[in-house]
Symmetry: C2
Subunit: 135 residues, 2 copies
Amino acid sequence: MPGTSPDFAARLRAAGLRPTRQRVALARVLFEGGHRHVTAESLHGEVRATRIPVSLATVYNALNQFRDAGLLREVVVAPGKSYFDTNTGHHHHFFVETDGELHDFPSDKVTIAGLPAPPKGTRLSRVDVIVRVRR
Amino acid sequence: MPGTSPDFAARLRAAGLRPTRQRVALARVLFEGGHRHVTAESLHGEVRATRIPVSLATVYNALNQFRDAGLLREVVVAPGKSYFDTNTGHHHHFFVETDGELHDFPSDKVTIAGLPAPPKGTRLSRVDVIVRVRR
DNA sequence: TGCACCACTTAGAATTATTCTAAACTACTT
DNA sequence: AAGTAGTTTAGAATAATTCTAAGTGGTGCA
Ligand SMILES: [Mn+2]
Ligand SMILES: [Mn+2]
Ligand SMILES: [Zn+2]
Ligand SMILES: [Zn+2]
């Protein structure tokens, strides 16, 4: 049967992280549904609601580790506002400035042509497109 | 003779801002040369070096006012790192992640095609392209 | 199964970026 | 010159994030 509960502990081990109670709980909330955009604060709230004790410092630690391991990517949309994104594939974002919502859109229909060569001595890391909209 | 000292006071008045000692000094540093990318902190340091007393709070106030008046635009590149950009025309950025540098590149050679329609009930505000590179 | 070790978690303090408060000051109007 | 509203400022406050140092717990091995 497809969609059976994935083994989060194994996924964490594969990323070089011990599957602790806290990290497994965080991974479950992050990865068991569809793609998500969370903040440290919102994720902290969600995990605590599942009755797993976890501190905000641990949420920050885990988010940074998950990002470094390639399980998440970070999207900075405004000063002091960064989202962690469970969609690590190529895609871009709509940011609704008036209410802070972030929405994905696929990059396969989008063409970015004519980008100049990176400055001398640098290698391309990522291209971020944020389409800012307002209500 | 071209390039004679522009009237910063007049420019501020035109933007609906009183040309105070502090704002004129800030405007001079920002606008008298070519385009710049500054942080509140770096601008504060530069203006103080010209022997004009100014507090960091005033620098933040002025930067926000200049941005709201369309004299500057703000570019957020990383959590807690935002630049104010004296180039308000259409252009995009290289961000050198390894050393925090921000460089402009013109948008006229760049084509972004196939952007999906904005989410229901929203209007486009701006499209930001940040090309992240590393040394 | 029991330990030992070291990675991990945590409360709380610290740091950093930014904004706020309320009192003093100043550019502009009259 | 005086009045007034806009501006500046020191310092406190807030918000996001990181750090410290002490305790806890996975894991590999006896
Ligand atoms: Mn956050
Ligand atoms: Mn800054
Ligand atoms: Zn996304
Ligand atoms: Zn620029």
